[in-house]
Symmetry: C2
Subunit: 235 residues, 2 copies
């Protein structure tokens, strides 16, 4: 049986072996949910950046630029970090440069993996099917919040570990714990996650629609992967 | 209402404010369970050491020395890290110097706290009562396993957060997650934790009695605290 393990924070990723693994990066509120929404709605490719400045420079090269810090659109950026901004397909065909507080850093720190996938509830089942068609073990890399464990990324890890249970053994204590927690609270994701510290932060920003989107299962039959040039594209 | 938060690994403790908090250090398998067992059975005081060598030097000063690495008694040490070795009271009145793979490091990294307590299932309710008599917020510092999240320390964190719910709000996502998980699996701690990676490691060492002891609730009406000189003593 293949294996699935969970890392709860980019600050702990150095404890894990990434080589020969599929790493699924997840930042439910909102980076990876937004990435999946953008690609599903026609954005051609996404190039992630750890910092605002190098992201901003991509505007001159014709990129749409999306940037967020602490939940707010960064000054001078066209797009923030809202998945619903992509749903009308207005940005179809564009290349997007993107930087966020937690999610893009987690992608950067996953570079040694054999494959990097972008995870969201919106494409959970498609990601499961893709992983099951591959041979590698899986590591779920939760972006967390400024290094801290967070509830929404961890529950996604539990959902993915649960959905993979026919083929992948929960290998470490993180996967075991989150699979058990998801089995208990997965039927009321929104109710449970309304307690989460980051959901509260987002509620203060008045983006209820974003939260609803980020917690919706299987909106898209789509897998998003980091290609050899570092672009996030449809598989 | 006061607050309770959880740190899952000494590798993440720098993300937390410790000042003005009660930090409860927990290493269920087996350091803090052993410390509580030792003090409950008459050991006068315990001085924790991060390394084997400085611990070993304490033997010349009349200390009983206990040392473990990777679950095994360290060479030349009188005691390993087994709580049941203290249950007959044979070491009553002695001072113990002790070093373990994870637990003693977590104590060392908690030094900025206003108070440091030593947590175990064996003295859970006594620790709850003591905390409720104090004014500070609480941080539960899980020793983990070589930096990784582990199931047994995290479930203890959930048990403590649950037992404190009348007085302390689950402040961060770690406390919320583990409280919810404990509510689900707390009635069968041993069954659930038999999946845990470290429990499996310990089973390989043939120490079933230790595991039973470490997962038993409220054997002692005793609070263990680090005093101003760095010794672990009965409150």
């Amino acid at each position: 049986m293949r294996k699935v393990e969970v890392c709860f924070s980019p600050e702990l990723i150095q404890l894990h072996e990434l080589e020969d693994k599929i790493v699924v990066v997840v930042d439910i509120f909102r980076a990876t949910s937004t990435m999946v929404a953008a690609v599903a709605n026609g954005v051609k490719e996404i190039l992630p950046f750890p910092d605002l400045e190098s992201c901003r420079e991509m505007q001159q090269k014709g990129f749409l630029i999306g940037g967020e810090r602490n939940g707010l659109t960064a000054p001078g950026f066209e797009m923030g970090n809202s998945p619903v901004a992509y749903l009308k397909g207005e940005h179809a065909g564009r290349s997007l440069a993107m930087t966020t507080t937690n999610g893009t850093q987690a992608i950067e720190k996953s570079k040694q993996a054999s494959q990097i996938l972008i995870g969201a509830f919106a494409n959970l089942q498609a990601t499961v099917s893709y992983i099951q068609s591959q041979t590698e073990d899986v590591l779920i890399h939760c972006a967390g919040w400024k290094g801290h464990f967070n509830l929404e990324d961890s529950i996604y890890a539990g959902a993915l570990a649960k959905a993979l249970e026919a083929t992948h053994l929960a290998e470490d204590d993180g996967a075991i714990a989150m699979k058990a927690l998801f089995e208990t609270v997965g039927h009321d994701l929104k109710g449970f996650l309304s307690q989460a510290s980051h959901a509260k932060r987002l509620q203060n920003h008045g983006i209820e629609h974003d939260i609803d989107f980020c917690l919706s299962y299987d909106l898209y039959d789509l897998v998003v992967k980091v290609n050899a040039e570092g672009f996030l594209v449809k598989v």
